[in-house]
Structures are given as structure tokens and as C-alpha cells.
Symmetry: C2
Subunit: 256 residues, 2 copies
């Protein structure tokens, strides 16, 4: 397919490279950020467009890969008649782009895409959705370039998946960052924790996480929790996080 990319961030860069390597051509790159936009257009051997009014109608698909909170405002500025328009967001409803065109869909890669991320895991989940079967078929064709694991889900299910992904990835990564900081302050290295980090991720793939909970919070061990809060007493945000976790773990497991 001939593709127009709208956006020039991490996802747009990833899509440009991946779709190109699967034989699709990047026709245009439209971005509000002319620096990253021009760089991506150059990389994708494509044309850079600075204004939505210059968008050509000769592409087969228009992929909006911008921050979630900008999708609607970008969508309002473009009119693509019956051309397929797609967004890539986990948290944005399908119909938020319905005014752009008569054909629209979603291709949401359920994975964390960062700037320097060269290798992504194989077979991560790609969620697709569209307003008709023709659009869905094209979404599937593009999704296949990203992964073999494609599921069709409605916007509500996709939003639940996105929130879950935010919890296990964004929140999980923040816990690693906080642990790393605490260890550095104590002249210790994060690599001491790699085995327990791997264990935590591995074992829930064999048994339900609800059955694997250990630690002071589930035992309501106040002595240990008090000590932990003393260690991080200067860090109010982390202390607040620690308290929210302890409460949530205790209540969650009491209800079981």
C-alpha cells in the first residue's frame, strides 16, 4: 500500500521502518514538528508535508500516529473522503476519527515503543477494529507486518487492554526506576534484582498472579511496612505510592 504517515514520533518511526520493510511505500509524512517530520520523511524516502491542507489524496491509507490527546484535533483538520484513515492508539475510540473519511479503523500495537527500541518481542498483540469489513481487511493487512498475533476487539475492550498495558509496563517500569534510584543511593546496583524481576514476570505465566502474592502488605506486617516508610520518608511521592500499594494489596487479597 501507499501510505501517508501523520506524526513523527516513536510510533510513526517504527511504522515507517516496519511497513517499508514489508513492501509498503511511505508516500508522505505530515507532522506539526518540522524537525522530526523532515527527519522521518528523509529516512522513509518520502515527502514532508507541513500543513494538512497539502495532504494528497493518492495514498491507500492515512495513519494517524500522534499522541492520544492530539488525535481528535488532528482528525478535525483533515478530510480524506473515502480513503482509509487509521489511528494507532489504545485509549482512543474508533469513532473519534469518523469525520475524516467514510472508511476508518484502528491498528493498536500492544507494546511499548521507545525511540531506541530496535528489537520488539515477536508475536505481541495487535488490536484491530474498523467501521466496515473492507477497512478491517486493510487494517489486518497492515497489522500483519507488525506481528502474527492479531485480535479484533471493540473500543471498550481495547481501552481495557491499554489500561492493563499501562499498569504492567508504565507502572512496572516506574517501580524499576524507583528501585534503581534507591539502590544507587545505597551504593548498590540494580542487577542484584534482575533474578527476582525475571522471576516475577516468569511465574505469572504459569500460575495466576493472585495466587503468587507475597510480602509485608498481604501479611499486614506493620513493623516491616513502617521500616520501609522510614527509608523513603524524604520521598513523599514514593511514600504515597507505597501506602496505596500496601492498602490495595491487603484489600485485594482479603476479598479473595
Amino acid at each position: 500500500m501507499k501510505i501517508t504517515l501523520i506524526g513523527s514520533g516513536n510510533v510513526a518511526n517504527y511504522l515507517a521502518t516496519t511497513l517499508h520493510s514489508h513492501g509498503h511505500s511511505i508516500n508522505e509524512v505530515f507532522s506539526r514538528n518540522s524537525k522530526t517530520g523532515r527527519a522521518l520523511a528523509k529516512k522513509a524516502k518520502s515527502k514532508f508535508i507541513a500543513s494538512s491542507s497539502n495532504l494528497q489524496l493518492n495514498s491507500d491509507a492515512y495513519i494517524i500516529a500522534v499522541n492520544d490527546d492530539e488525535i481528535e484535533s488532528v482528525a478535525k483538520t483533515i478530510s480524506l473522503k473515502n480513503k482509509l484513515v487509521i489511528h494507532t492508539s489504545g485509549a482512543t475510540a474508533l469513532n473519534s476519527i469518523k469525520k475524516c473519511s467514510s472508511q476508518y479503523g484502528v491498528v493498536y500495537p500492544l507494546i511499548s515503543i521507545t525511540k531506541n527500541n530496535k528489537l520488539l518481542p515477536a508475536n505481541y498483540t495487535v488490536c484491530i477494529e474498523a467501521n466496515n469489513t473492507t477497512a478491517l481487511k486493510k487494517c489486518k493487512q497492515l497489522a500483519k507486518c507488525l506481528s502474527n498475533k492479531i485480535i479484533e476487539v471493540n473500543s471498550m475492550k481495547r481501552e481495557a487492554l491499554h489500561l492493563s498495558a499501562v499498569m504492567v509496563n508504565n507502572f512496572g517500569n516506574h517501580l524499576f526506576a524507583q528501585a534503581d534510584k534507591l539502590l544507587t543511593q545505597n551504593k548498590l546496583e540494580l542487577d542484584l534484582l534482575y533474578p527476582i524481576i525475571n522471576q516475577t514476570a516468569d511465574r505469572i505465566q504459569k500460575e495466576s498472579p493472585a495466587n503468587l502474592q507475597t510480602g509485608p502488605a498481604i501479611r499486614n506486617d506493620k513493623t516491616v511496612m513502617k521500616k520501609h516508610l522510614q527509608i523513603i520518608s524524604k520521598n513523599k511521592l514514593l511514600s504515597s505510592l507505597y501506602k496505596s500499594f500496601s492498602k490495595s494489596i491487603f484489600e485485594f487479597n482479603k476479598k479473595k
Copy 2:
């Protein structure tokens, strides 16, 4: 060595099996819980003792493997003269058991040990500490049965390691449990998230987690965060956790 185990929970069970398989013998099992105590004694081909006053002085090491908040109270009830006494807690200071004996130490396995946990990762970190070199040597000898990665750290560093482990394991596992529940409510399976869970754990072993943060909180994307909070609005504890995380992620990364 001839070993007396004090406690009959997950850690005591793990130590009994592992130390026995490395040629040490379990001499006695003392536990306040006679059911699990008798079961462990039977499994370890050992003698069950219901009262601390019946403890024999013919073991080479006495390992206190009880809940953190019970270590001091157990330690107060026993007197072991110059016999080596060891606790296995990450969160308890070395000197909390100093009244039991003239020789005391810590062997803390920095890993999550659950009841049905048969396979633990190789080379997880074992923290050791003791009040003199003789005791430290024996702690090392026992620690070697658990893992090849042994580090000598003082109580303060061990407590920081324990808190870090609680964050990445206990808190991380709770995030998995919450994600699992949310997905089940939406008729989706946790296995859709396995690739992103593995990705989150893998990539911080190549790059600092502080450089890998993505998601709505770091971008301060209020639209997405509001939507997420709507999805979990009936779950007050999870909502509170979500808010604490979003604030902590934003502030943490702003300071960078």
C-alpha cells in the same frame, strides 16, 4: 552441619529441602504451628519441637525462618549460648537476635519464595552478615547451598535491597493481579500481555529504566488518564494507586 529450623512456613520448607540436598541434616524443627511444624519435621526426617524450652544444644546452626514481625519475639524466648543463630529476613537488623547467642548472622535470600515454588532462578542474590568472622564463614557456607551469588552487606544496605525487592516483586505482582482482574471482567486473557510484561522486564537489563519510561503519565496526557480512571471508577483502591503512580511518574521524570 546439623541444623535446627525455627519456623515451618515457605522459607523454612525451602531451606529444609535445599540444605538437606547439600548434605546438611535437619536436626529439629521448632514451630508454634504444630500442624505445619510436624509436616515439615516429617518431610525433613527430623524431630518436631513444640516449645522453645525443649530446643537441644547439639545443632551447629539455629535458623530462625519466621515472619519478620515475629523474629524478635521468638529470639527473646531462646538462649543458645555460643551456638550460631541466623535469621533469614531482609527487613530485620542483625542485632535484633543478638541476645540469643554470642554468635549470630543473617542469610537473606533475595527472591520470592512461595509454597509451590519448585524452581527458583539460578544465581539470585543471597545477602549475608554476621557479628564475627567465624559466624560469617558459616553463613557463607549455608548461603552457598542456595546460590552462587553471595554478597556481604550491612543491615542498612540489606533493608534497602529488601524494599527494592518488595517494589519490583510484591508491587509488580499486584499490578499483574489487577490487570488480570480487569481483563477477566472484559472477557480477555492475561496472556495477551505476556509479551509486554517480558519486554518490560527484559529491556531494563540493557538500558536504565529511567530512560525507558513511556505512557500517559510522563506525557501528562490528561484525556487518557481521565478515561482510565473512569474505567476503574468503582475500584477506589486501584484508582488511588493509579493516581499515586501518575503523580510519581510525572514528578520523577520532570526532575531528571
